[in-house]
Point group: C2
Chain length 461, copies 2
């Protein structure tokens, strides 16, 4: 008579927290996608790197699949456990490990929330510049797994730019201490880079060294209403040339309708097809003069239908809310999310083609666009009509995503800008990566995880 693998794990690691209550299985088995029914074997909540290594060795011995799990705010199903996997939650590994003032490096455990990182950085007079709306609940490990972007990529880049080192437990249970905070290190392949964006398929990140930086100078915010996407791209050119931009975010009239219905204040009396929230440095009289000059240039060229520059911090926050409140305002409509990227120069042609495609294929659906122009990142949210059931809605959406993926391939884009591939976009990966690239990725995965226990079924089979 042999014990079950789970009993064996409990025996091996008597102090390991293991949960098997149905409520826990459901809670820890899903992320912000709601398409799969959670069905994990159990939830492990390790408290140390040693425990993570022991779990991975046990999983290899018993061929149990593992799903690394942070804040489960992901939108691609990367943290879904629907096939009897053991969820390895980093929830208890959520501390700041240390701060190095000379190197400006904050070392953290993977389960710490992004907002807690922001707060810890602020205590040292510095900032961790990656930021997005889920900051309060997402875990830093998840931001590494997806190379999270967010609202200030235009100035600061993605998560990748801020990871000075990380510790990874590989699919065989080896602990790799990658890059160790060095600025320069030309000593072979930078495996740290491979782990960033790997969606937990190469191992479990058990510690990260975050590069902090100076707080930016005081900024201000303007909201512009625009007659066309073409005008919007021209405004981007003007502002990028004259101002130090830290964000340039757009949304459509439909997005405004939803966010206003959700409680935000309507900014202008009239309606306009496009809106932009632009954030920029405005710390001296010189920069404030440049802002006014740039704004006037846009008005003179007829690019702007209406506009406002925040006159107070409260007004700046209100303008930001119009953009940052969109996702929450759409949530009750259970949107099907496309998170795509093209090169900046390819956006107008891609948008024209895609708008026509969506109007043709989704005439009955409300489609809400928003995104990050400076990064070539468009979020296309298709809202579920109340009358349609979930499964039928997703099926219809996926048919169109296949067409969208074709368009992306022709325009040289990516099926996922920042959410990741996970389960949701897996069948479209070939639109973005060639067969030869996927073959290389499969080979690399095999090197890190020869028995295929790390988040199997995610990213690619």
């Amino acid at each position: 008579m042999t014990a079950s693998p789970l009993a064996e794990l409990a025996r091996l690691l008597p102090s390991l927290q293991l949960r098997t209550e149905p409520a826990d299985l459901e809670h820890y088995g899903r992320d912000w996608t709601r398409r799969w029914t959670p069905a994990p074997l159990a939830i492990a909540l390790p408290g140390s790197i040693d425990e993570v290594q022991a779990i991975v060795r046990w999983a290899n011995a018993h061929r149990v699949a593992l799903v690394p799990s942070g804040g489960r705010t992901g939108l691609s199903g990367g943290a879904v456990a629907a096939k009897g996997e053991l969820v390895v939650s980093t929830e208890r590994m959520n501390r700041v490990v240390g701060f190095d003032a000379a190197d400006r490096i904050l070392t953290v455990q993977p389960g710490i929330a992004l907002e807690a990182v922001h707060n810890a950085a602020r205590e040292h007079g510095l900032v961790y510049p990656v930021d997005f709306a889920a900051r309060g609940s997402c875990a830093i490990g998840g931001t590494i797994a997806t190379n999270a972007g967010g609202i200030r990529v235009i100035r600061y880049g993605n998560t990748r730019s801020w990871i000075a080192g990380l510790k990874l437990v590989t699919g065989t249970g080896e602990l790799l201490d990658l890059n160790r905070g060095l600025v320069k290190n030309s000593s072979g392949y930078d495996l740290r880079q491979l782990v960033i964006g790997a969606e937990g398929t190469l191992g479990i990140v058990v510690e990260a060294m975050l590069q902090l930086t100076d707080a930016p100078p005081p900024s201000n915010v303007m909201l512009l209403a625009l007659p066309s996407f073409d005008a919007l791209m021209q405004v981007f050119e003007v502002l990028r040339g004259k101002l130090a931009l830290s964000a340039f975010e757009f949304f459509t009239d439909r997005a405004l309708v939803h966010v206003v219905a959700h409680g935000a204040q309507k900014p202008f009396a009239e309606d306009h097809p496009y809106y932009v929230v632009a954030e920029f440095d405005a710390h001296t009289q010189g920069t404030q003069d440049a802002v006014l000059a740039a704004f006037e240039t846009c008005v003179e060229r007829g690019l702007v239908g209406d506009g406002v520059i925040a006159q107070s911090e409260a007004q700046a926050a209100a303008l930001w809310r119009l953009r940052e409140g969109i996702t929450e305002s759409l949530a009750r409509h259970r949107p099907y999310k496309n998170d795509i990227a093209v090169r900046i120069g390819a956006m107008p042609a891609f948008l024209d083609e895609t708008k026509a495609l969506l109007a043709r294929e989704y005439p009955q659906f409300d489609v809400v666009w928003f995104g990050h122009i400076g990064d070539g990142n468009l979020h296309i949210n298709v809202l579920k009509p109340d009358a349609l059931d979930d499964a039928a809605f997703v099926t219809q959406c996926e048919q169109v995503t296949a067409l969208l993926a074709d368009a992306l391939q022709r325009h040289g884009g990516s099926i996922s800008a920042e959410h990741g591939i996970g389960l949701v976009k897996k069948s479209y990966l070939g639109s973005t990566r060639s067969a030869a690239e996927i073959a290389m990725m499969r080979g690399v995965r095999q090197v890190f995880d020869p028995n295929g226990i790390m988040n199997p079924g995610k990213l690619f089979d």
Copy 2:
């Protein structure tokens, strides 16, 4: 009767330039290291990606090793061909392929010189911010192969930060078009990152998309003389806190002796143990006031023995020459170069230990230090006494490098900050990367180059 592999290559690709003259074999078979006797089979100078792919397929069929070759300004032996390899020179693939204004991407062939890239960027009112002294002769492909750093990493990061995409011909002859200029692309492993710094062991970079950026604001330069390394670290803290630094470079009294003997002007009447060249934004009265205030703070704290702020562009260039002229001033002494990195916070302790080590082991040698404090990067050049022959000198130096590698390992550093591992540092790789990491790297190399034809013997066996 079968044709030789080389004859077969000539038959397969009648228009391929192939050279076998002894002068060419010698010229293309070495880099700036002078330790190995060049002995390539031949030199191929492909003119297109197709030709590169055909060469790689031929090499696989005949099991001929290939050495990718750019400007051969490398200092680690990465481009040395001493074992009958075919050198694949990118010298003829040296054009700008295109410029995309919206994305600010300059697409280039791999053989273009860094300085030509700077010039092309300037034509578009932008800059490519990677820069170092070999700019006139190094090829962009080589800067990618080593993830080149240079003099402005403190502000702009390494080459890695500026590669928006690259095309790679893998070890099997497959062409991968990696990332294609996207700012955001969360679609699986970022294989582009793996290629950057791989020293030509995963394939041949045949095209690169370089991210350009705004020209920096006008800057100025100061030279400081310092009584100790401890004072130097404190000055770094003061200046980093008060100024927008773009460079913070140090050198020792011995470096100054050599660069002055080589024609540079002695900056101060008295001698000091350490010197710093700091470059910083100084475009408004406010920033100029901050510079003076920072300088005065350093003087008041007794951190600075002497100092000068450039009053003209000519003076700024003269101050830079004191730092940038060092490598050339040492060349006639055939220095043994150590290019190491530690975390910034680890520098003082590492430097103390290493100075003691070198004084004990090299009492008879002239040792010249310089480097990039803001990056934790120290260049330790040991000069060959005229009386000692090359081989004996290298043997003595390598014994000490083994001790240095031990110290680095204890201080968490890297045996190569920016030169790469190549042949020169191969036996010390284990001081910087764990056995488990090297095993992963070996596995990854196997995925990209199963027959081991890409730069074999470099980086690791």
